[in-house]
Every structure is written in structure tokens, then in C-alpha cells.
């Protein structure tokens, strides 16, 4: 999806503003959102690619007007409702109840097993790589061109790097393709490569010399360079 989340190369967002001595969380609710998300994924209510696409679907104006953990909250809500875990109606009703009485207590519940599972999840992480080993089409040094593709759904080929020529830097292995995994079409593992692009290839002749951008790209995003390219008229 060509959404505003695809920020690489955009202009006009002003200076970068680091915060001195920034705390890990700026408010209690941020930690709660982080925990809910990890808990939901640990319990397989949705996967990380669905989660990222949930953020992308939140609407451009809202995305730009809200913070990181608000993006997360939006995606968590969207997915839990879509998956039938929570209904929109009960969420709105409960929200109204908390708006009416901010002192409402949270339900008390002890679940040592879930805490242990979370500790384990945080320690081990989630696997995106696969034991399957389809043979990789490209090797380090191979010249490739990225596809000029504009799928309406989730993809991890940023817009600034479409239809661009680069070189395979490294073969990472075989990984879940987010484009299918975000849409309930399974993991469909494919070779994943680190691909190096010269800045001048990405941004044109005015780009600075001696700058390279490296992207991790799945094999279906790539074609051998020298072919006719995708949609190009030779």
C-alpha cells in the first residue's frame, strides 16, 4: 500500500528533534499498549505483518497526527475487532464507562502461566525465518532490479526503491513473505536478500556520492538486471 507510513524520501517534515533524557515510557498507557500487543501476538491473535498493516490502514491524516503507541493501539483495536476477539460495541461501551468514571478499577486476574509465556516470548522472540530452503536465485554480487509494483495491501518494498537497480550484498536465508502473511495467506517463505543501492540510483544525479542504502528484500520483489524490467518498454 502506497500509504503515508512509507516515509523514505519524503520531504517537509522538518528537523529531527531528539528529547534529552527521554524516559522509556511517557505515560502508563504506553506500557499497557506495548504489553497488550506482545500478549496478543504471543497468544497468536494476529501476526506481526497483520499488525504492521493494521497501522498502515489507520488513515493518513490520523497516522500523521498521532504518536507511535497510538498507532499501535489503532492496529490492536482493528485486529481484535476483525478477529472477533472484542466487538466494536463492547469496546465503545467500555470506553464510555471509563470516560464516565476514570476511577473504575481494572478487573483483577492472576495468570502466572501467561506471565511465564510472555517472559519466554520476550526472551526468544518470534520466528520469521524458515527451515525450508528453496534454492536462492541470486548470489552476492548479482545485479538486480526491483519490481515496479503497487499492491493495495501490505508490502515491505518501499516506494522509493521500486524499479531501481542494485546489487545483492548478502543472502539472509528463507523468510516469511509479509505480503501474504499480512493477509491470511500463510507464510510462503522465500529467499531474503540484503540489496545495496547507490544513492544516485535512488535519488538521481543530484544525490551525494559515496552514499548507499541497503534494504532487505524478498526474491519476489526482484528481477535480474538486464531483463526488460517490469512494465518497462525496452
Amino acid at each position: 500500500m502506497n500509504g503515508v507510513h512509507d516515509l523514505g524520501g519524503m520531504q517537509g517534515f522538518g528537523p529531527i528533534e531528539p528529547e534529552a533524557n527521554e524516559p522509556v515510557f511517557h505515560a502508563d498507557w504506553e506500557g499497557a499498549v506495548l504489553a497488550m500487543n506482545i500478549a496478543a501476538m504471543t497468544q497468536r491473535l494476529y501476526n506481526v505483518d497483520e499488525f504492521r498493516h493494521g497501522v498502515e490502514r489507520m488513515g493518513a491524516a490520523r497516522y500523521l497526527a498521532t504518536s507511535y503507541y497510538e498507532h499501535w493501539l489503532a492496529s490492536i483495536e482493528t485486529l481484535l475487532v476483525e478477529k472477533g476477539v472484542v466487538s466494536r460495541a463492547e469496546l465503545e461501551a467500555r470506553t464510555a464507562a471509563f470516560f464516565a468514571d476514570p476511577d473504575l478499577p481494572l478487573p483483577r486476574r492472576s495468570d502466572p502461566a501467561l506471565v511465564a509465556r510472555m517472559r519466554e516470548a520476550i526472551r526468544k522472540g518470534a520466528a520469521a525465518s524458515s527451515e525450508e530452503r528453496p534454492s536462492a536465485r541470486f548470489r552476492p554480487g548479482d545485479r538486480v532490479v526491483t519490481r515496479n509494483m503497487h499492491p493495495p495491501g501490505h508490502t515491505r518494498l518501499p516506494r522509493y526503491a521500486r524499479g531501481r537497480r542494485g546489487a545483492i550484498e548478502r543472502v539472509h536465508g528463507v523468510f516469511t513473505v509479509p505480503d501474504s502473511h499480512a493477509h491470511g495467506r500463510g507464510r510462503q517463505p522465500q529467499p531474503l536478500y540484503s540489496v545495496a543501492f547507490e544513492s544516485r540510483e535512488l535519488w538521481g544525479a543530484a544525490a551525494a556520492p559515496r552514499e548507499r542504502v541497503y534494504l532487505d528484500l524478498w526474491e519476489p520483489y526482484l528481477e535480474p538486471d538486464g531483463g526488460s524490467g517490469d512494465g518497462r518498454q525496452a
Binding site: 506495548l34 506482545i38 500478549a39 497501522v55 463492547e90 470506553t95 464507562a97 478487573p107 534494504l215
Partner: protein
């Protein structure tokens, strides 16, 4: 933390979160202990002090450095770091007099949690994400880091479940420091690539 709130002036988003939290607790999918534990872990156990230990070890142990650059995941695992938010694989990229590395995630905010903790706000905001790939030298300059034109800049845009951490250059004048003293010099920003590790004065 999951059990308290911020008082009467609490913003609407905080109340919305509590509403969702309470529903998930009722449905047996969450508990206040889980929230407390996650917050505790990311406030105390997982942060840039982890990455700093990795960097210091690599500075003092050439064999460890070799392993770290060859297989970051395994090498940080030797020090007990790994897991969630680390994607599937950690790749450590080395700064040298000829090459400066910089990490970004233009599509969302992927970041090497196991070694650096949760990302700072600026890393997640549009200004950094949009500009790091387009004009990295200017971005670095705004962070106070002037990288000469003779030095190649490599920007690592984290588009898959691979996470990147920069191994900064060891500053001059630190030959006599021990591993713990070296680790104390290493900053989060240096491991993202927007700073150098300062020389001792």
C-alpha cells in the same frame, strides 16, 4: 502500572487503553501482572546498556568481534541477549575510518530491541524516517556528526525481520580502559549510527 492510572486529567487515549485492557483481562487474554512485567522488563532489563556490553567486548576481544560481525545473533546470544523485537537475525555493521553506518526503518520503526531496548521517539517520527535514506549526511550533521565526503555512508533500512546495530569505532585514548569502563562510554546514538563514541578528554 497496569493497575493504576494518571488521575482526573487523564487523557482520552489512556482511558481508551484501560477500556481495552479491562476487556482483555475479562476474556482471559491479559492480566495486570503481564502489563507490569512487560513494563518492568523494558524499563530495567533491556536497553542500550546491553548493546554497550556487546560493543565493549568486541573492542577488547578481536575473536569475539570476528564472531559478532559474522553472526550477530549468535554473538550477542553469548552475552545473554536476544529475543523479541530482534526480528529473527541481528546484523552488526562496523564503522571504520572509511565507512560510517546508520540504521533506520522507513516503513515503521523496526529497531534492535534486545540490544538497544525500545527506540527513542525521534527514531519513530517522520522527520528521521523520511530523511535518513535521502540525505543521511545532512541528518548526521544535524546530530552534530560531520562525516567527511571521503567517508562512505551506508544506510540500513530495516525492511524485514533483520535488525541492525552499528559497532562504533573505539575512540583513541581508551587503550587502558577495562571492558566495563569502555561499555560506560558507548551510547545508544552511537549504536544507531547518529553519533560517535566520544574520545576521553
Amino acid at each position: 502500572m497496569g493497575g493504576k492510572h494518571n488521575g482526573p486529567a487523564e487523557p482520552r487515549v489512556a482511558l481508551r487503553v484501560r477500556a481495552l485492557e479491562s476487556l482483555l483481562i475479562e476474556k482471559g487474554l491479559l492480566s495486570t501482572e503481564v502489563v507490569d512485567e512487560v513494563v518492568r522488563v523494558y524499563e530495567n532489563d533491556i536497553g542500550p546498556m546491553n548493546g554497550a556490553k556487546v560493543v565493549a567486548r568486541a573492542w577488547v576481544d578481536p575473536e569475539y568481534k570476528r564472531r559478532l560481525l559474522a553472526d550477530g545473533t549468535a554473538a550477542v546470544g553469548e552475552l545473554g541477549f536476544g529475543g523479541r523485537g530482534g526480528g529473527d537475525r541481528l546484523v552488526v555493521v562496523e564503522n571504520t575510518p572509511a565507512v560510517h553506518n546508520l540504521v533506520v526503518c522507513t516503513l515503521c520503526s523496526c529497531y534492535p530491541w534486545p540490544v538497544l531496548g525500545l527506540p527513542p521517539t525521534w527514531y519513530k517520527m517522520p522527520a528521521y524516517r523520511s530523511r535518513a535514506v535521502l540525505e543521511p549526511r545532512k541528518v548526521l550533521s544535524e546530530f552534530g556528526l560531520e562525516v567527511p565526503e571521503s567517508v562512505e555512508i551506508r544506510v540500513w533500512d530495516s525492511s524485514a525481520e533483520i535488525r541492525y546495530m552499528v559497532l562504533p569505532e573505539r575512540p583513541r585514548g581508551t587503550e587502558r580502559l577495562g571492558e566495563a569502563e569502555l561499555a560506560a562510554l558507548v551510547t545508544r546514538d552511537a549504536m544507531i549510527g547518529v553519533a560517535r563514541v566520544g574520545a576521553l578528554v
